[in-house]
Every structure is written in structure tokens, then in C-alpha cells.
């Protein structure tokens, strides 16, 4: 199985610690106005928010692709900065699964793509092959290792995309809209896989039932700020809060009943 971390992160440091991060795009548009967020190791957190709230901008700050505003991002005790070696280690620790698997899977076969990340870390030979096998096993795609990504179903491609970052043994897995474009069965299968991973998870989504199913805690990001942070069941039960931030539950969905059902199923 996938372990936590190997290059000695501080044992008591949270997986992710974002402090006062601000960011404006070069055209002057302000995307983040001071975001604070701490994710302890092993926790699963949903990041909710309407379109244009700054969710993707925040995600790109987590591994130092965007930077330059005020504030700091610390991953397992290591603070993101411009230094090349630090950035390389940060990018290993933060595994981002992008929304469109066709963006993430760019090599002709599944196995090569999963090997890309660990090979960038310097792994070779049997060690690399083991990482690839381990990551593909974790998402149940081992038998498709030699297929071309374009010949897989969308749900399978999303699972391979998860494997490509698992192979780097990240400290925290960040998923951008993991349930988008999936049919209900693929959505459920992915939930089962994500729940089984022993890794810290930050899930960006507008799929509120999915957040309830997978994450005990949710935060709402709107207009570049964290405006709510609490238990997912409580946040979804607060209809006024959701309405203020353009979030909506599917028609007929009762969060209280769903939460009871989840507790009953353990």
C-alpha cells in the first residue's frame, strides 16, 4: 500500500498549512485575499465554493506553480519557496489530480504515465516498476497498465490520473473536481478507492453529497477568502450559508438523513 512520506517530514507538522495567502493575476484581478487553512495529517477535507471563488488558484499555490503574493504555504513542515530543490520536494509531497484526465495523462501507455512522476524523482529499474505496480493496484487498474489512455473509459482514466500522483507517495493528495463527468457507478467506485487510501486528502468540488460522503470536514472558499470551516454535515445543513455562497444541494437531498445513513454504515 501507499505509505505516508519518506523524505523525513517533521513528524508533528500538519500535512498542509496555508497562512495569509494573497494573490492577484497580472491583469489586476484579485483571486485570493488572505487564505488560512490547516489540514492535519490523515484528514480528508472538502474545499467547496462557487465558480470563480479562487479554488483552482489556491490549488496551484499548494505546489508552488503560482506564488508571488503575500503569505506562506507549508507542506509537512517544508515551506514553499523559489529554491529548485525545495520546489522539487514540494511537488513530490503535493499530488495534484487535475480535473481533465486527458491533461494529466500525456504518455502513450498507462504504465509509462504512472512512471513519469517517480522517474522525475530519480527512481529507476525495479524500484520504479514496484512503485508503478503499487500505485496501479491501489486504484484497481493493474491489468490495464499497457493500454493507451485514450482507449480507457473516462472513469478509468480518472483512476489512472490518481495513480500517477500516488506513485510519488505524496504527503497530501489534492483532487480538483474528482466526481465531474463520472457516471454514478464510476463516481461510487472512485469514492471507495479514495476512502481506502491512507493519505491526507484535499478535495475541491461543488458536488456536496460527495463531500459529505468522503470528508468529515469542509471549508467554503468564496471571493478569495475562507468563509466557513466545520463539520461537513453541519455546513450542508446550514441552508442560509450555502445560499449566500451560491452552493446548492441536489433536489430532494436531505443532508441530515444522509449523515445518519453514513454513520449507520460506519
Amino acid at each position: 500500500m501507499i505509505g505516508y512520506v519518506h523524505t523525513a517530514p517533521a513528524a508533528d507538522a500538519p500535512s498542509l498549512d496555508v497562512r495569509g495567502v494573497q494573490f492577484s493575476y497580472p491583469d489586476g484581478q484579485v483571486a485570493l485575499r488572505g487564505v488560512d487553512l490547516t489540514v492535519p495529517r490523515g484528514e480528508r477535507v472538502a474545499l467547496l465554493g462557487p465558480n470563480g471563488a479562487g479554488k483552482t488558484t489556491l490549488v496551484l499555490h499548494l505546489n508552488g506553480i503560482l506564488a508571488g503574493g503575500a503569505g506562506t504555504v507549508t507542506v509537512g513542515g517544508l515551506t514553499v519557496d523559489r529554491d529548485r530543490a525545495t520546489l522539487a520536494e514540494i511537488r513530490r509531497r503535493v499530488g495534484i489530480v487535475f480535473q481533465d484526465p486527458d491533461d494529466q495523462l500525456f504518455l502513450p501507455t498507462v504504465a509509462e504515465d504512472v512512471a513519469f512522476g517517480p522517474a522525475n524523482l530519480g527512481l529507476r529499474g525495479t524500484e520504479l516498476a514496484e512503485r508503478v505496480a503499487e500505485a496501479l493496484d491501489a486504484v484497481g487498474m493493474a491489468e490495464h497498465r499497457d493500454r493507451a489512455p485514450q482507449h480507457l473509459s473516462f472513469g478509468q482514466r480518472r483512476r489512472v490520473a490518481v495513480a500517477t500522483v500516488l506513485a510519488m507517495r505524496p504527503e497530501i493528495l489534492v483532487l480538483d473536481e474528482p466526481s465531474s463527468n463520472l457516471d454514478p457507478a464510476a463516481r461510487r467506485e472512485l469514492a471507495g478507492i479514495l476512502r481506502g487510501l491512507p493519505v491526507t486528502l484535499l478535495m475541491v468540488t461543488h458536488d456536496l453529497p460527495y463531500a459529505l460522503e468522503l470528508c468529515d470536514r469542509s471549508v467554503i472558499l468564496d471571493t478569495g477568502r475562507i468563509v466557513a470551516d466545520g463539520a461537513t454535515a453541519e455546513i450542508l445543513a446550514d441552508a442560509d450559508l450555502l445560499a449566500r455562497h451560491r452552493l446548492e444541494l441536489p433536489y430532494g437531498f436531505d443532508p441530515a438523513m444522509a449523515a445518519r445513513q453514513l454513520t449507520a454504515n460506519g
Partner: protein
């Protein structure tokens, strides 16, 4: 999605030729073609020898002669000129079936036709026994510049994605009453090409971001190149064909 794009020419069989590592097949094909091109055009027997070699490899690789023949028609537009040469050539002339043909032109036409056909057949044998993926891998192992093999790798991966996008855009256009059958209705099509370019460009940016997020620093890690690379035995086996061809070419030059 078009599942066939990756296998336009590849013939899925199991044979000794299929099993050879791609780099030795590429090298053999190039040397064979060079030998053919270097052969004097009037050494007719030599071309018979080359054809025999091609047929032998075709038989061993089990790609099928009918497939080979039909696919080699691709060269027709390129050798049309060869058929014109006997009429256009100057110098000594012979008459045949009432036609006045230039001897030099006949030799020239034969030269293009024979060498072109043998080159096409050799390339088809390579393409029929090697997947696109392996071809790129072989070029990489032969130290072809990485920028070229990377571009080819991306094309192999994203061709289907692009074709799918273009198809969806076309369906959406036609669904809104566009009927691009005439020249003056090309506007919609042209705008579609522009939009497709922009989409491809934006996707390129997103792919790059995803690569950087996984530690890409400007060079592809050549990790998978190491497994299954050619051994001395592979090189020796594959060398038989180009060596025979070089022998024929040398004999033709010496005897001619």
C-alpha cells in the same frame, strides 16, 4: 473515440520480426534503403535480389502479400513523374508499339520506380511489424533528438483527443444548420479550425502544468528506455537483411 488511429499500418501478428527491438528494425530499414539507392540503375538483377529479400522478410513476418501490395499503392502519386520520363527524355530514342521513347528516360523512369517501390516496401514492413509507440522508442534509443521524439509522443497521445474535439465541434455546427458543402460556406469551418487551434494551445498549457506538478524539469526521464533494449544477438539477426543488400549493391557497382 477512434480506437484505430494508433494502428493505421501495424499488423498485429506474432513473428520473429515483430519481436525484434524497434531500433534494430529501423537501422536495418535505413541501411537496406541506402543500399538500394546506391545501386546502379542498369544492374537489373540486383533489384530482383532486393525484391527477393523483401518477400522473404514479408513471409517471415506474416504481414501478407496482398496487404503489402495494396498499401504500396501509396507511392503512386509520387512516381507519376517516372511514367512521364520516357516521353520527356532527350537523346537516343527507340520505338515501341508505335511510341517514340527516350532510352535515357526509360532508364530514369525505371530507376525511380524500382528504388521508390523497394523503399516503400521496406518502410511498410517496418510499419507493419512495429507499433507507433515502439517506433518512437526505437528512434529515442538511436539517439534521435529528444525534442523530435517528444513531439511525436505527444502527437500519438493527443491525435485522438484532437480528432474527437474536431468531430464534436463539427456535429455542434451542423446541428445548428451549417451545411459546409460549398466554398462560400467555408467560414464556419475556418472559424472551427481557429477554435480548435486555441483549444489545443490551452490544453498544451494545462498538460504542461500537470507535468510540472509531477516534477518535470525540462527533460523526460528516460526510465523506460532501459527495458527490452536490443542485445548483440538482435543486432546480428537483423543485420542479415541489410548485409545481404549491401553485398548485392557492392557486387552491382563492381560488376557494372
Amino acid at each position: 473515440m477512434g480506437a484505430g488511429h494508433a494502428h493505421v499500418l501495424y499488423r498485429d501478428r506474432t513473428s520473429a520480426v515483430h519481436r525484434l527491438p524497434p531500433e534494430v528494425k529501423i537501422a536495418a530499414m535505413v541501411v537496406f534503403t541506402l543500399a538500394v539507392v546506391a545501386t546502379p540503375r542498369d544492374a537489373f538483377w540486383a533489384f530482383g535480389g532486393y525484391l527477393l529479400l523483401v518477400l522473404l522478410v514479408a513471409a517471415v513476418s506474416r504481414v501478407g502479400l496482398a496487404w503489402l501490395a495494396s498499401r504500396s499503392l501509396i507511392e503512386l502519386p509520387f512516381v507519376v513523374f517516372a511514367f512521364a520520363l520516357p516521353f520527356l527524355g532527350t537523346g537516343e530514342r527507340v520505338s515501341w508499339l508505335g511510341l517514340e521513347l527516350s532510352v535515357d528516360g526509360l532508364y530514369g523512369g525505371w530507376n525511380i520506380l524500382a528504388k521508390g517501390t523497394l523503399g516503400v516496401l521496406a518502410s511498410l514492413l517496418l510499419a507493419g511489424t512495429t507499433t507507433m509507440r515502439d517506433l518512437i522508442l526505437g528512434l529515442d534509443r538511436l539517439h534521435c533528438p529528444q525534442i523530435l521524439t517528444q513531439i511525436a509522443t505527444f502527437m500519438l497521445r493527443y491525435l485522438d483527443v484532437l480528432v474527437g474535439e474536431a468531430r464534436r465541434m463539427r456535429v455542434a455546427r451542423i446541428s445548428r444548420g451549417d451545411d459546409p458543402r460549398f466554398l462560400w460556406q467555408l467560414r464556419g469551418f475556418a472559424a472551427g479550425v481557429g477554435a480548435l487551434f486555441l483549444r489545443a494551445y490551452e490544453r498544451g498549457e494545462r498538460v504542461y502544468l500537470a507535468m510540472v506538478s509531477r516534477g518535470y524539469q525540462g527533460r523526460m526521464p528516460g526510465a523506460w528506455l532501459a527495458t527490452g533494449a536490443a542485445t548483440t544477438r538482435h543486432w546480428l539477426v537483423a543485420a542479415t537483411v541489410p548485409l545481404a543488400a549491401t553485398g548485392i549493391a557492392a557486387a552491382a557497382v563492381v560488376l557494372g
